[in-house]
Point group: C2
Chain length 300, copies 2
């Protein structure tokens, strides 16, 4: 029986998975993202979250995500494209044994990916894509990972050959929280009609900056109720993201959505309104991807 | 000698002009926008800023801008398109004499404009366009009024026939102040090379949400210095605005830029980088426009 402890440690969250013989048997989530960890607190934080797993199993521990950024435990250099599980394993860094408690043994941090034309970076989503590929028995396709910074990832021959980040989630939060658009809004972005109207508006040729002011104008002129404005803004932004991403698609294959269920469902609805077909990958894709990297690296 | 006191009273600023026989002879600016005025403080605020002008001259007083909004002194209903000076005069509201000090006499507030396909609203810029038309001896053209909410206004036969708002300025402030993009930035948006690179990037087909994340990626990967990132973001947003606005232009006439000199100069540079020809209108356009409305209304 071979056990892997795979920790997806992002800016604002931590998700730890216990993987036994390629099957995710247990998952723990926390909001203890890397921003909550003090400079010398990494080992303690890891102990707090999965110390019991480690002591029981003596398993390999592999971290992915922003924990490998300059703000994380140890900066791990980005790997170039194209990249597969072997490339990620080759780029991993082992935490100095002197800083790890003896009982932990090797703790590895995976690299992210970067490319330069145009400039873009990614940390954590690459293993989710590898895991989704395996779970869906695919070797190619276009993957969408919705979020604060949505990633669109192109895969061919089992390797990541390109990706692009859309700042959709963070732009939504900044506009709702820190511009005049938020002032008319009542409630959250769960109004179905408002969401659909926003997705539809994304077809306009006026440009996103004009469409954004339209959120306010529609509220002022009573075309949308105040309770529908947040959902309208959400639909507008996601619609713009989907249209822009699909405009450069080199494939007619369905989009594979990877991520947390609520957000994936929101993107699925928007895609459906635009006539796009989507598939979904399991939420445990990150752990499955790390398993593949650990196999490729001979760490198991 | 006929005197008009024209006050452009917006959300965050007040600009008062003394106009004698159609010539702007004096201008006062203040940051006392309508948000700084208490519910019963309008008359006092006006007295504080131009009470001396009024007592000397016994002139007509006309207010334009957000002072006519729900958050202003008195809500004045939007007028529909097409609209000219006569339509604005007909839609003006006279402040109840009971609330005005006897010495002031009539104080009028001008309406804004709205249209519904797509929904859009404007308060204050319409008189700037009328003033620019008169100053430049034009009857038609496409006018750009850069700002927190940039307005693009189409004029034909001396009447405003269409307009569109781009939320460029406020989006810039929200992104710089309240997203991860601001964290890498050093200094303000005055780097010429960074600005030009941002304008150039707006030609990409990746979509604005992807281009925005590129601001961070270019910083992380060292493609742009930290001191150039704010200007890059500014150029990117203004470039997107100009491209979107020109994509729907029905005329090949030069764009007429109307507004404060610093911002007009920034837009002129971006337009030049995109191969677009621009003209500039005098900064006193608002006062000249109000003069025309006052003439049309027979208030002088």
């Amino acid at each position: 029986m071979t056990t892997l402890l795979a920790v997806d440690w992002g800016t604002t969250s931590l998700r730890a998975h216990r993987v036994v013989d390629g099957v995710v048997v247990e998952t723990r989530s926390s909001s203890d993202g890397i921003l909550t960890v003090a400079a010398d607190g990494w080992q303690d934080a890891l102990n707090r979250h999965i110390g019991d797993w480690r002591r029981e199993e003596g398993a390999a521990t592999v971290l992915s995500g922003m924990v490998g950024s300059r703000q994380g435990w140890h900066e791990v250099a980005y790997q170039p494209l194209p990249a597969d599980a072997h490339a990620l394993a080759a780029g991993a860094v082992m935490i100095d044994a002197a800083t790890a408690e003896a009982e932990w043994g090797p703790v590895r941090i995976l690299p992210g990916l970067c490319h330069r034309d145009p400039a873009d970076v990614m940390r954590g989503e690459e293993v989710q894509v590898l895991g989704a590929l395996g779970a869906l028995h695919r070797q190619s396709g276009r993957f969408c990972l919705p979020g604060t910074h949505s990633k669109w990832v192109d895969v061919d021959g089992g390797r990541i050959i390109g990706f692009r980040t859309h700042m959709t989630g963070e732009v939504y939060a900044a506009l709702k929280g820190h511009t005049i658009l938020g002032r008319l809004m009542v409630g959250e972005a769960d109004d179905t009609a408002g969401f659909a109207a926003g997705v539809a508006q994304s077809a306009s040729t006026a440009g996103l900056l004009a469409d954004l002011f339209g959120v306010r104008a529609r509220g002022l002129l009573g075309e949308l109720p105040e309770t529908g404005l947040a959902a309208y803004l959400s639909g507008l932004l996601i619609g713009h993201e989907l249209r822009s991403a699909m405009a450069t698609a080199s494939t007619a294959e369905p989009i594979v959505l990877v991520g947390a269920q609520t957000l994936v469902e929101r993107y699925r609805r928007a895609a459906e309104l635009l006539g796009l077909v989507t598939h979904s990958a399991p939420e445990t894709a990150a752990a499955l991807g790390v398993w593949q990297v650990a196999l490729a690296g001979g760490w198991l």
